[in-house]
Symmetry: C3
Subunit: 287 residues, 3 copies
């Protein structure tokens, strides 16, 4: 029996133990782990995956791209695709810093409590990799998205990037100064998702409790204090104001299932490329 | 079936092949090996172990700390413990440079031929990691220990460290100049254990043969010449003077069994911390 | 059941994924992979292989030496052998940059179409590791070999090295200036093997078609343009002029089988050293 091999490319010096354990639990039999991976090292490693197994066995080798730096990971993903020769290729998955599985799980959790196509969503602190992906997945499903940042320049740039990826939809940048008018930005929102840096409160509990339109609030920050006031890190559809809340651990179960199922699906054919869109589809199938 | 994963943290650039092979032979199914590990890299790696498996499966992930530098390993062990959140933790084992398994095997071998609680023991060249551990285990079992070094300062410091760890007992520093009065330091000793650097004779054969009180002599140096004169590297309870002798390979079988059993025991719960004391208990159970 | 462990030593910073996948497909159960390996790191790693398993289990650990730099790999091989203590050793295989499996497969492919002991062979661009090995295997089987290079000095040095290894036989250096008299050098050759750098045409198609003595032409260059004009990269005994041709992929099947069988044979005893000669014998047994 040909063993399932996952080549783990990680731009961090020490490749993620998290990604390795999840891969093993998803049925990977042999892990080839690489740390400190640079774009220049990719071609040889990908060719080693392409040219060692033929026919039906080629799909038993796949590549996972991780690391804490999502931008570098995207360049590694491109380098992998550039190394392919037509149909001679292996499946690829990008989940650097958990960006795709986290964003997908958050949006699926939100969709349990509100019709995305009919919702106004505010993505707080949304300029990072997870925030941009959350906005992308929401806009792709027809939500009207507001993306906030302390800097209007960064918010605007993130929105442009999201719109480029999605093609159509509504993603509007809003700047919120520290201690500024968050309530105003949230006004009328059914969904609020906090994607800011660890340990920064993006909106206080009072504001959240006063938001009458709220159906679901999600805080993806795992380190206290909460990014979205009133949402506990382990909350899972716990009541908050007029809606329910999910914390980082509260969406963690779905995130983990999505991650494992995505890894499993890599080995079903040799031409999969799992990025935000494809991983979101997997998360949706789990619900 | 959840696979047994061991995360091998090694401060050497190339993680130990010795530790990896022993881990595999002890039933580890997947090794996640890290070289050049620094204290700053530990937290993320430990969190990856803590947050990927839940419930009964958490104890199927454990961490081994190795490397040739025992002091660095102790700092890595502390960093692992600092990364835990209360009961969310995984089992840990420290055996950098084989210090704990070697010291434990040596003391257990000695205990076959003399009642430790009733013995005077001289630990020759005892200021290194193995020597300090040998002294610690002996003192903990009630032996009266003399620890020698060429430097009285280093001997005194080592004895203080040992006493701090043990809490009670007798560990006395003695300086022996090169070519100095070893016979005097050994006078009345039932147990002599050589823990010095490779290739240095700590005591000559004549002195050993003249030591009437001797019950057991152990030389942990594996590279000729012998550290304890008259003890061959493969000796295992071979006659020497009035007692018996063990060489490094002579205690090697017990050391290896102890190492393997310690690795196995890591996966029986998620909260074990195997350092000198715990590994000695395992060696004792083997006998 | 004691698991088959392969220690993969690679002088490249990122150890070869190609070599790892082939090892797994050859039945290796646990890979201990090392990148950036230097001669100074070898002893400890080899001792870890030697001193962890005893008796019949020792042969279940073996060492593979790879990396893109064959000269460094040869120094690593020597360092491995130097680390052994008499019969306490493990089996070794060197196939840095695929040099031995590629050269062996090429020579075996040639032997299907011509009696080596009765042939004149030209090894074009033969000063590199693969070319020198091709010349060595051919000369060892009695072929009269001409080895070409753009530089007579390098050709002469390569021939001397080959003769030193083989002991007896005929290996003659010839310099061919770029655009020079290749036809003259090839005159009367039954076998032509191109071993030059990727993307350099060593001889044009016209010359090959005009070579009446030709029985078999092999081009080991996998990147267009062909090194030996008229030979396609996937050709496998395809007609060319008066003989047949093989491209790099055309001999690839035999190369891969040889590589896998060589890895398998490492675990049949603890004292094998698989370099050019031994790997050629394996390729011959496959045919």
């Amino acid at each position: 029996m040909t063993q399932r091999i996952l080549i783990q490319l990680d731009s961090d010096l020490q490749p993620s133990s998290f990604d390795s354990v999840v891969a093993i639990d998803a049925g990977v039999e042999q892990l080839l782990r690489y740390g400190g991976v640079q774009v220049t090292s990719v071609e040889t490693l990908v060719h080693g995956a392409m040219f060692t197994r033929g026919g039906d066995d080629l799909c038993k080798t796949a590549i996972f791209i991780g690391g804490s730096d999502v931008d570098v990971a995207e360049r590694l993903l491109k380098a992998c695709r550039d190394a392919f020769f037509g149909p001679v290729r292996v499946s690829l998955m990008l989940d650097a810093n958990g960006c795709n599985t986290t964003a997908s799980a958050a949006v699926v959790a939100a969709s349990r409590h509100a019709d995305l196509a009919d919702s106004r969503v505010v993505v707080l602190g949304g300029t990072g990799p997870v925030g941009r992906r959350v906005a992308q997945l929401l806009a792709g499903d027809g939500a009207r998205v507001t993306l906030t940042s302390r800097s209007i320049e960064r918010a605007t740039r993130a929105c442009s990037e999201v719109m480029e990826t999605v093609g159509e939809g509504e993603v509007t940048p809003v700047a919120i100064a520290p201690g500024g008018q968050t309530a105003e930005a949230l006004s009328g929102a059914e969904i609020v998702i906090g994607c800011g840096a660890a340990g920064i409160e993006l909106v206080d509990k009072e504001t959240m409790l006063g938001l009458d339109s709220l159906k679901v609030a999600i805080d993806l920050n795992a380190v206290p204090p909460a990014g979205v006031g009133g949402v506990g890190v382990t909350d899972k559809a716990a009541p908050i104001g007029s809606g329910v809340g999910y914390g980082a651990i509260g969406v963690g179960g779905l995130k983990m299932k999505t991650h494992r199922m995505a890894i499993e699906s890599l080995f079903t054919s040799n031409d999969r490329v799992l990025d935000a869109h494809e991983i979101y589809a997997i998360a949706k199938s789990i619900g």
